[in-house]
Symmetry: C2
DNA sequence: GAGCGATTATACGTAATCCGCATAACCACG
DNA sequence: CGTGGTTATGCGGATTACGTATAATCGCTC
């Protein structure tokens, strides 16, 4: 259209004139109508040609931009990192890291999403997250993502404040063998029930389930109301609400693995730095 | 990504597995990073693959929609017709047609653009118009568009109300031979000056130019102020403002061709109907 | 531990595609 | 009626792309 002549257009496109003629014929045949009218003076665009240019120019632009973004990503120049985390773990593991990371990579946008482990896994599967910070329930993800243990932390028992065991100084897992356990729903925290089950098995008993909840707040409320118990990772130690007593388990074998899941594939430098910072912070604490 | 296996994906895409493997390798090489991690269990998508799907899905969707629209256009199923017209000619030639057309093609969107002939030509060249309704200045478009004379109408002289010739009953072109002519700028109405020049030549004289204007309103104002004259198509006969007298020329050879320009290429049925209606209306009036 | 079933990667021959050169056909203009 | 411009076409060669057959690998089961 700009040259008004297949000859000149072919020269500009670095192909021969017969080639361009045939390519044009192919498109016209596929469309079902001519794009140019030929004459001894050259070619004149039809309305269809104008229409094609108008509608395809933005498509090509969008493609080029997307491709540029993709190659940048492929070469490790990531413009954003999307991290999912469990709200209550952020204070200890994530908050201190954000500032340091921004200093190293001020041009990389850091998105933080407060999500349950179940939501994080779903987001990873959809490709909406690059990194997920969850407990060892990450094992439920199977081989779909890379896993890395960031820290191994203790376990605390959750008791109603008036519970007899709440009066003691220390508590061991076996003392909970006759209690009723409350666990979060499998959809919210996949694998948590299994984890408690295995812990109890090590302590020599099989836990008795008395209910499922949707959130930590809900867990606390029901434990206070129903005199039930549960087990949680110990970063929640300082967050006991009124009516709830949190006690660290004395069992050595009772631990909770803080796990980082990341999307498969090459690790961008920025992402590597972020993971390093998180791992260091977790180890130090 | 949906199948989790090159074998199953190849079957779905109706190609052989080696072919799909090589196509994937080609894209990965061009990107510079793998899209999948291979294993004996099948393939697992990397973060880059997720990114690619996220960014390319809308591009492909936009392409498909644009292509569908294009083939529809190519097969004559046009969803819109964009018509440029000269504001003052609409009442006589275009307004009556719009209603009739809407009855025949209620699903075709009719866009009407009030533009000077110069703007219309420019819009045609950009592909922003399908049809243009102008005077015989359309000849200036050269071979870029199809031309069709819609009607041949008379010419009127524009005189200041106090002008001596304004007192007469009839007027012929030769009586204007000593007057000063005002014409619209070439950019606004290309060819108008040439047309007047040729008319005067037929009448045996060469017109004397005293100024250029940007609009009909401006033309009227300057003619009233400067006692100049001009020539216009006679559909403006009823629109004389105070201080202006409009008189039909008695010369038989003085006429103005009302011309329809249309984009090159196949003529869609809806567009053909619209043109037919315009031509009939013009002929009847 | 051997074998089976599944996976992806590679080798190779063939078929199809695509390109450029040469040339034909056409037109406007002088 | 040639001449310089245009686009279209025939043809040979090089490249590409595909499918079949096969290799290499891995996990699972017996």
């Amino acid at each position: 259209m700009e040259e008004g002549s297949l000859n000149r257009a072919a020269a500009r496109l670095r192909v021969s004139q017969p080639t361009l003629t045939r390519q044009l014929q192919a498109i016209e045949q596929e469309l079902g109508a001519p794009l140019f009218e030929r004459g001894s003076h050259g070619v004149l665009p039809t309305g269809l040609a104008h229409h094609l240019r108008e509608s395809m120019t933005p498509v090509i632009g969008a493609y080029d931009r997307a491709w540029a973004e993709l190659t940048a990503h492929a070469h490790g120049r990531q413009s954003q990192i999307r991290v999912g985390y469990l709200g209550l773990s952020a204070a200890r593991f994530l908050t201190p890291v954000v500032g340091q990371f921004r200093e190293i990579h001020p041009d990389v946008r850091l998105w933080l999403f407060d999500q349950t482990p179940g939501e994080q896994l779903q987001a990873l599967r959809k490709g909406d997250l690059d990194l997920a910070l969850i407990g060892q329930e990450g094992a439920m993800a199977g081989d779909d993502f890379y896993q890395q243990r960031v820290a191994r932390i203790g376990v605390i028992a959750v008791l109603a404040a008036g519970h007899p065991l709440a009066e003691k100084d220390t508590i061991s897992l076996s003392e909970l063998s006759t209690e009723g356990f409350i666990v979060p729903a499998e959809s919210a925290v996949p694998g948590r029930k299994l984890w408690i089950q295995q812990l109890c098995r090590k302590a020599g008993f099989s836990p008795q389930w008395v209910g499922e909840t949707d959130s930590v707040t809900d867990t606390f409320a029901r434990i206070a109301a129903e005199q039930a118990v549960s087990l949680l990772p110990d970063y929640l130690l300082q967050t006991a609400p009124p009516g709830i007593t949190l006690m660290r388990l004395s069992d050595r074998c009772a631990f909770w693995d803080f796990t980082l899941l990341r999307q498969r594939g090459r690790l961008a430098p920025a992402c590597r730095d972020l993971i390093r910072l998180i791992a260091e912070t977790a180890k130090a604490s």
